[in-house]
């Protein structure tokens, strides 16, 4: 006890107190609006919650809610698996796409500011409710279908798709790639922030490095993999985490929609909590494992 006091004597102690005062709003908010609901919802997921007029009753029922989510509910398993598969594919696509775009946007050409502004536009416009409305816009869907049916045979992607699938090598993987290409709009509108993060990383790479490599006879392709890639590898980690989290919290996410439906429409808080906990634990494990793997490959320059 005494040593601790000595450690934080005088100015340091005052600074520590000031620091705590500065972060006090966060601590209070965290305890009141995060920790309590967090554990309460964990508790609720093991309970049968009954709503009364002036209070609610929780009775411990064990893992019934989890059993219901996995074994009884007809949709939940399917939605969970589908959504996570979609998340993996799309997150990869978003990372690749934004890396590619930021490489292009890092070059000097006319109208660069304009293009950059356009790529960033979806961050502002396609957030919140709008993205959910966009995804089930049937007018556009029918329009697209019409165009597709009237222009059969002209589509280049279709042709390539056929060639590659008949080649018979890794058909399944190709299908996923085509799915992503068909939905390139979804990828493009979700990668605004990632592009900017990559761009900021690219701009910190000193030009002298490329110059030296160029003089030594390094091609552009080689310097991309030997200089650019390692130098911004830490940003891959940042972007990967951001993308996964962003994808999981989008309002048009099927699992989230399901949870909302169970909670607000059917007023069954217990099962809803159980479902959201399953989802949360899976995401957390996924983010933890993948970022652990990626961080092994990250190269730090300093």
């Amino acid at each position: 006890m005494k040593t601790k006091k000595n450690k934080l004597a005088g100015l340091q102690k005052r600074k520590a107190i000031a620091g705590y005062l500065f972060i006090a709003p966060f601590i209070i908010g965290f305890l009141v609006f995060m920790v309590k609901p967090f554990f309460q919802s964990l508790y609720m997921s093991f309970c049968n919650v009954e709503l009364g007029s002036s209070a609610f009753n929780e009775t411990w029922v064990g893992i019934v809610n989890y059993k219901q989510a996995f074994l009884v509910d007809p949709e939940f398993n399917r939605l969970l698996v589908e959504e996570i598969a979609r998340m993996i594919v799309y997150s990869l696509a978003i990372i690749v796409f934004s890396f590619f775009v930021s490489l292009i946007l890092n070059q000097k050409f006319k109208g660069r500011a304009l293009v950059r502004a356009v790529f960033f536009l979806p961050v502002i416009l396609s957030s919140g409710v709008i993205i959910g409305l966009e995804s089930d816009n049937q007018l556009m869907a029918t329009l697209a279908q019409q165009i597709e049916t009237t222009t059969t045979g002209v589509s280049i992607t279709d042709g390539i798709e056929q060639i590659l699938t008949t080649a018979g090598v890794g058909t399944r993987a190709f299908e996923k790639v085509f799915e992503v290409i068909d939905n390139i709009y979804d990828v493009a509108i979700a990668s605004g922030i990632q592009i900017i993060i990559f761009l900021s990383g690219l701009q910190t790479i000193p030009a002298s490095m490329y110059e030296a490599a160029d003089i030594e006879g390094c091609t552009k392709w080689e310097s991309l993999w030997k200089i650019t890639f390692p130098m911004i590898s830490s940003l891959f980690l940042v972007n990967w985490i951001y993308t996964v989290i962003d994808f999981c919290m989008r309002s048009d996410n099927a699992v989230i929609e399901k949870i909302q439906k169970v909670m607000i429409d059917q007023l069954s808080y217990g099962p809803a909590s159980a479902m959201s906990w399953v989802y949360f634990v899976i995401i957390l494990a996924f983010v933890g494992i993948t970022s652990g793997l990626i961080s092994k490959g990250v190269y730090y320059y300093e």
């Binding site: 340091q12 600074k15 520590a16 107190i17 000031a18 620091g19 705590y20 500065f22 972060i23 709003p25 966060f26 908010g29 965290f30 609006f33 995060m34 309590k36 609901p37 967090f38 919802s41 002036s54 209070a55 609610f56 775009v101 790529f119 960033f120 536009l121 502002i124 416009l125 957030s127 919140g128 409710v129 709008i130 959910g132 409305l133 007018l139 556009m140 709009y185 493009a188 993060i197 761009l199 900021s200 701009q203 830490s234 940003l235 980690l237 940042v238 919290m249 309002s251 989230i256 909670m263 808080y269 809803a272 909590s273 959201s276 989802y279 949360f280 995401i283 983010v287 961080s295 990250v298």
Partner: protein, 333 residues
């Protein structure tokens, strides 16, 4: 500039010959790259802008035009009736006012608190700092949906240490009022607040400590140093976090639906617009009819446009703040 260009052109072939065709190849390569780049970027920009352009053209069409296969992007019967109807369905002026006031106040509150917290994390050393910062990361990682069911009940039967129950005999029902969300914002638990704390902390860490120390040496208190010295330095990041907060609050559906359900906001009224269209048509015709998909989508497009219009205007003016701030934080892990 021009003169040098002419000069290079003059002896371009000669130089090309001397370099053994290297110069020509390089030049062709450069032009090829820029053409390919132009095509790519044009395509991708079009991809992003097309839905907006499409919405604009659809919003001026009459119902007749929607079914006309000849009409694709330029309406035959130009009309602004869609805007009037969408405005009526969304109670636009009221919703706009409410949304504006709420987004603005929430954004100010959130960013003020997040700046304090971010500064605290960046500049002070105190016990358990790592632990609390891990909590910030946790806040970023936890989907708000996980705790939403519990928060729902928390505010339905709101109580501080049993005080209200003691005085009034029952707990407060804060559902439907806007107070809970302000409380949450004051505690940094609003929409994406963990991210703002992280960004602001990152920015403060990059400011050299000398300035602050000079202020301390000159007898400036902690609070005064923060407001007079550090805050003006951090203007860019605060502006951009504020803009993000405003914009994301504007379009947010989740928190709005959960806490601000009683207030008409643009985001929630947009989400309901198709249903209100059905109710509206039923009211004026007296018959329960199903509205055609095309027409409801047309109204939806108009409503969406009306909602994003203020944001587009904001973006046009503040584009720089949005984009540059993220790069200026130098996010690294």
């Amino acid at each position: 500039m021009n003169k040098t260009k002419v000069k290079t052109f003059d002896n371009f072939w000669e130089r090309n010959r001397k370099s053994g065709g290297y110069l020509l190849r390089k030049k062709i390569m450069e032009i090829g790259v820029s053409v390919a780049r132009f095509i790519l970027l044009f395509g991708m920009c079009f991809l992003i802008l097309q839905p907006i352009l499409n919405k604009i053209s659809v919003s001026f069409m009459t119902e007749q035009d929607l079914y006309n296969p000849i009409v694709i992007s330029i309406p035959e019967h130009f009309t602004t009736a869609n805007y009037k109807l969408a405005a009526e369905l969304m109670t636009y002026s009221e919703a706009l006012k409410n949304s504006f006031v709420i987004s603005l106040t929430i954004a100010v509150l959130q960013i003020f608190v997040c700046t304090l917290v971010g500064y605290g994390f960046a500049r002070f050393n105190f016990p358990f700092k790592k632990f609390w910062f891990a909590c910030v990361i946790l806040v970023i990682l936890i989907p708000p949906q996980t705790i939403s069911s519990s928060l729902h009940l928390h505010f339905k039967f709101f109580d501080i240490l049993g005080l209200f129950k003691l005085i009034k005999g029952e707990t407060l029902n804060l559902r439907g009022s806007i107070l809970p969300y302000y409380l949450m914002s004051a505690g940094c638990m609003g929409l994406k607040n963990g991210l703002y704390i992280y960004m602001i902390r990152q920015f403060f860490r990059n400011i050299p400590a000398d300035m602050e120390e000079a202020a301390y040496v000159d007898g400036c208190g902690t609070l005064k140093t923060f407001f007079r010295i550090m805050l003006p330095e951090a203007k860019p990041i605060i502006t951009s976090c504020f803009l993000f907060s405003f914009v994301w609050q504007w379009t947010d559906g989740f928190y709005s639906k959960m806490f601000l359900g009683g207030t008409t906001l643009v985001s929630t009224s947009l989400a309901r617009i198709v249903d209100s269209l059905g109710a509206y048509i039923q009211r004026i015709t007296g018959v329960k009819t199903t509205i055609s998909i095309a027409y409801s989508n047309c109204i939806l497009a108009t409503g969406t446009l009306m909602i994003i219009m203020p944001l587009i205007i904001l973006y046009l003016f503040a584009q720089r703040q949005f984009v540059e701030s993220i790069s200026s934080t130098g996010i690294k892990m």
